[in-house]
């Protein structure tokens, strides 16, 4: 039985709610005002796809401020899935999605990266500045999916990650994504081929500092 590992990265402007989305998904909690992400943070979660396929998701949260791109950029190339997140109450964050998309497209070495557009903070209906139709239009023009989510009211959060994971898995099955040596976006671990834990000669050995 094979086990999969998918690396997924979240991109989008500052304060669109990338960290909250990830916290809701991995820890089931919601903090109203988390500290701004500095650099890159990571989370992980196991997911089981219907036919008993286990997938470990490596989820990378990134700082949204533009100047951090010099740090976060180096992580794009090793991702198989990208969640492009915007805040439905913030028009600018929506307009910047296209920039984020091209950022990845210009760096990614793989032919196929799976994107999903996320309209976040959908609970703030009255403040919404972007209609569902408009967001769907953008997603269609980029050839990607779109889901509205809210970490606060826990709406569609699981669905978003499941959709992305399923799409990646399907693409993998159809050989649209090929596994390359030295690329960490997808790993397939065959249990039988795994080395059993080697016995260390000196388990107590400390660093020579």
């Amino acid at each position: 039985m094979a086990r999969h590992m998918f690396r997924i990265i979240l991109l989008g402007d500052s304060t669109v709610g990338k960290s909250s989305l990830l916290r809701r998904y991995t820890e089931g909690s919601f903090i109203p005002a988390p500290c701004p992400t500095v650099g890159v943070e990571f989370y992980s979660k196991m997911m089981e796809l219907p036919p008993g396929i286990k997938v470990k998701l490596q989820l990378w949260d990134t700082a949204g401020q533009e100047r951090f791109r010099c740090i976060t950029r180096s992580f794009y190339r090793n991702a198989v899935g990208v969640l492009l997140v915007f805040d439905m109450t913030n028009r600018k964050s929506f307009e910047h999605i296209i920039e984020w998309y091209h950022e990845v497209a210009s760096i990614q070495i793989m032919e196929k990266v799976i994107f999903l557009l996320i309209g976040h903070k959908s609970d703030l209906k009255s403040d919404c500045k972007i209609s569902t139709e408009e967001a769907e239009g953008l997603a269609a023009s980029l050839g990607i999916g779109f889901i509205e989510t809210s970490a606060k009211s826990n709406t569609n959060v699981d669905l978003a990650f499941e959709t992305l994971t399923n799409t990646i898995y399907e693409a993998l099955k159809n050989k649209e994504i090929d596994l390359q040596e030295g690329w960490d976006g997808v790993k397939v671990i065959h249990k039988r081929t795994c080395n059993p834990q080697k016995k260390r000669r000196k388990p107590q050995e400390k660093c020579q500092c």
Binding site: F42, R67, P203, C207, C209
Partner: protein, 337 residues
């Protein structure tokens, strides 16, 4: 309520106060020193005293003196008021505003949007963008400014932030953040020498330094370690400079990944980063909330982040950052003091 932090949320923040007599003794000593600062700072024991920790009541006075913020302020009388009153670039204001309520939300000073903490932070960060329009605001300056504001009035805090951003960590908060990228590489090279076991492990799993040192260095550990420890690190950092950040980082990596026992649980990137993120506080907290890390001050020799770093930077001069790679000529350089 120690350090203004709400105790239920920060159980460790009330730990580690030295006995009252010792506090009084140190206070008297520092007070005496501040009355003839130049002379006192020329003496050799300055480093030792700062490593022992500056008494809480004296930090407001001593940090600006130590980092040169006080003398910048004295040279630029009235400047801060002028910057504070300037309207500022609306784009920066918007960016700063989004972060203000997200800095230390569990500190009494920063609880309320109307409180003087949040308002002061807004003014201070805005003032910096007016003072250095090309540098602007970096999100990592928020927590640094907040810690400064917890200790001193806005004007002093502003000049300390200027010193930290320009003298101590030039290029850390700037639009290209080139110095952080560079120091990440330097850190790995030092780690290779100081703790080869952890170095090999990190290389094997391709865990680059930017995954863990970015927040440590940019926020000066203020979001990583127990608060008493953070303050002790800042005392030393302001007295000795950036090498303190490296040393603390090296000790943290060693605590997390220095033994085969610890490494056995780290089968991949995620597990390794998890280990680095969750170093038990008891390992870090030393005497009086200070740093076990002080153990490392002498032990590691001087990983030469002064001289070594300069040489490394020199070797990259003219090249595009990052291209120097890990095989830079700096590897062979003598790092010792």
């Amino acid at each position: 309520m120690a350090f203004g932090l709400i105790p239920i949320l920060f159980p460790l923040s009330s730990l580690g106060q030295p006995p009252v007599e010792l506090i009084r003794h140190r206070e008297a000593r520092w007070l005496e020193m501040t009355s003839h600062w130049e002379k006192a700072m020329a003496r050799r024991y300055k480093k030792v005293l700062c490593r022992k920790g500056i008494p809480s009541s004296m930090r407001a006075r001593c940090w600006p003196l130590l980092c040169g913020g006080q003398s910048s302020m004295d040279r630029n009388l009235g400047k801060y008021k002028e910057l504070e009153q300037s309207p500022g670039d609306p784009q920066w204001l918007e960016t700063i505003e989004k972060d203000i309520h997200r800095q230390f939300p569990f500190h009494e000073m920063f609880l309320s949007p109307e409180g003087h903490g949040q308002r002061g932070l807004m003014q201070l960060l805005k003032a910096y963008t007016v003072y250095r329009p090309h540098e602007g605001y970096c999100q990592a300056q928020g927590p640094v400014a907040a810690v400064l504001l917890m200790h001193m009035p806005a004007e002093q805090a502003f000049w300390c932030l200027v010193q930290i951003s320009e003298r101590y960590l030039p290029g850390y908060y700037s639009p290209e953040m080139e110095a952080v990228l560079l120091d990440g590489e330097v850190f790995v090279a030092l780690l290779r020498r100081v703790c080869p076991k952890a170095y090999k492990h990190l290389q094997k799993h391709s865990v680059g330094p930017l995954l863990y040192v970015t927040e440590w260095f940019l926020c000066l550990y203020s979001r990583t370690l127990p608060f008493p420890t953070v303050l002790r690190i800042w005392d030393t950092f302001l007295s000795e400079g950036v090498k303190v950040l490296f040393r603390v980082g090296l000790v943290l990596v060693r605590l997390a990944l220095g033994s085969s026992e610890n490494l056995r649980d780290c089968t991949g990137v995620v597990e390794t980063l998890e280990k680095l993120r969750s170093i038990p506080a008891r390992l870090v907290l030393g005497e009086y909330g200070g740093v076990h890390i002080t153990l490392a001050w002498g032990k590691m020799g001087d990983p030469g982040t002064g001289e070594g770093r300069r040489r490394y930077t020199g070797s990259l001069h003219g090249e595009k950052l990052g291209k120097g790679g890990r095989q830079s000529p700096w590897h062979g350089a003598n790092l010792g003091p």
